[in-house]
Amino acid sequence: MSADAQMTRISRPLQIAAYAFAALVGLAFLYPYWWMLVSAFRSTRAIMDDPLRLLPETLDLSIFTEIASLGGVSLARYIANSLAITTASTVLSVVVTALGAYALTRKPQLPGFTALRYGFLVTIMYPYMLLVIPVYLVMFKLGLLGSYAGIVLFLALGPIQFFLFEQFFRKIPGEVIEAAIIDGANEAQILFRIVLPMASSITVTVALITFLLNWAQWFPVLVISKTPDTYTLPVALLSMNTELGANFQGIMALAVITTLPVAGLFLLAQKRVMAGMASGAVKG
């Protein structure tokens, strides 16, 4: 028996009450997913008649052909945009942030490094939604408006990535690096042969979290895009939801497509994702 269990004598009724309450809260949190999923397969008419039905009357897949084209762009393109933009920005984010955080933690006293650190901290403190507005002006000046490059570059910068890497690099014992220097290794060798191999696990964690976060991004994508051609799934979903005379079943089907990949990825890697999010946040 654990110390905790000894201290709080567990009464049976209390335990049942705790389970019942936990189940109620858990189901309330999961219900929107179930409702979304069921609604994607039911006709709008059927939902209006009985919104609470827990299973679709028939497994009607016709909606996915109906939303195969949205706003003049094919659904396949939105999916491809989401995959491409999220993957590219994740790879870029991991590489850029790992190198940057490594240099800033190894040599914090170098000229300009403190200023850069503060610049980054101010950036992440700035209300994100309001940062995106002047970013529009910057993209305009750089000629990146409406380009994939503009979206990917902007999405590559994030606080949690930086803090996770910084935390990891700080924990590498100085002796490891000193020993390598004594052995005659140059800085590139130290980074690529010693530090980065040690960082493989944290790199996977950062990549996973970045993928999940960037998949959900919508506002920068909307602001930097000129046409729906560069929209990702959440942006397509938002514009579909904004239309008048909304196609309810279609919206739910698109919400399913937007949610399912990341929900699945999270459930597969939940331990790593939650541990990473907790430690990345605690540092910030």
Binding site: L99, L110, M129, L153
Partner: protein, 296 residues
């Protein structure tokens, strides 16, 4: 001067490592912020020209003379205060329940259920909530009807719209705060509790004097995160209410965005600066209060 240059040259490889990160931070962080602050001092009509007309604090004076902005600011504060308390309270309760020996394995499932919405794209989550509240499609009113409760007005009246946003945001964010509390609970020193138990402390006393003080880091982090989060509430408004009904949910971020959309760049960026100062002020105050408490 030469010594600085020598240091830089000697460490050039580190500058090479940091270069891409520095470029991104400057291009998409520092520059837009500086630009935003500069635009807030220019006349909107000339803001995007190469030689804008600088108007001093005129935009700031204008927004503080705008009753709609002041109302929006007040609304944002009110919503933030309620949302922070509700979210932190709920997340704390859930973390304690998950950590308690009462749930055993069920704790992991509850943890997953609470955290899944955090990684669910917010647009998708809020779209579903918007329709859950709907009078003719929504499951919420259908459920209320079935169990004999009066209809819930949802997004159609001011006060219920606020509550509806709060619930949807709680669903999306609380799992994150729960995670922080839970992580803090997991690393606490259990030997202290055993010692208190041996000394005859009641369960309440153990919580109040042994466990809660150890959770202070989580309370501080969560409060700062939640304050920042809710002060800039935006996505949920865009998806669910567009500031309505009757401006009832028009928070500062959304109001600033509306002005930006109308080409009133000067006022929009002035609002951004004001919100930025509030966010920084609030975060620093909480951290400092936390430090002072710790120093006692």
């Amino acid at each position: 001067m030469t010594t600085t240059l020598e240091t830089v040259w000697h460490n050039r490889i580190f500058y090479l490592f940091v270069l891409p990160f520095a470029v991104l931070t400057i291009l998409f962080g520092v520059w837009p912020i500086v630009l935003s602050i500069m635009v807030s001092f220019t006349a909107s009509a000339t803001a995007l020209r190469p030689n804008p007309t600088y108007v001093g604090f005129a935009n700031y004076a204008a927004i503080f003379a705008d009753p709609a902005f002041l109302a929006s600011l007040l609304r944002t504060f009110l919503y933030t205060a309620v949302a922070v308390v509700v979210n932190i309270g709920f997340a704390f309760g859930m973390a304690v329940l998950i950590d308690s020996p009462l749930l055993r394995r069920g704790g992991l499932l509850l943890r997953l259920a609470l955290f899944l919405p955090v990684v669910t794209p917010d647009v998708a989550g809020y779209v579903v909530w918007r329709w859950l509240y709907d009078r003719s499609f929504g499951a919420i009113n259908a459920l209320f009807d079935t169990v004999g409760l009066p209809a819930f007005a949802g997004l159609t009246t001011g006060p219920t719209a606020m509550i509806s946003l709060l619930i949807a945001e709680l669903w999306h964010h609380a799992g994150f705060y729960m995670l922080i509390f839970h992580a803090n609970l997991a690393i606490r020193d259990r030997a202290l509790e055993e010692a208190a138990h041996v000394d005859g402390a009641t369960a309440w006393q153990r919580w109040r004097y042994v466990i809660l003080p150890q959770l202070k880091p989580a309370f501080i982090i969560n409060t700062v995160y939640a304050l920042i989060q809710f002060l800039k509430t935006f996505t949920v408004v865009v998806v669910m209410t567009k500031g309505g009904p009757n401006e009832a949910t028009n928070f500062v971020s959304y109001y600033a965005y509306q002005l930006f959309d109308q080409g009133r760049y000067g006022e929009a960026t002035a609002m951004a600066s004001v919100l930025f100062l509030i966010v920084i002020g609030v975060s620093l105050t909480i951290y400092r209060l936390g430090d002072r408490e710790a120093a006692r």
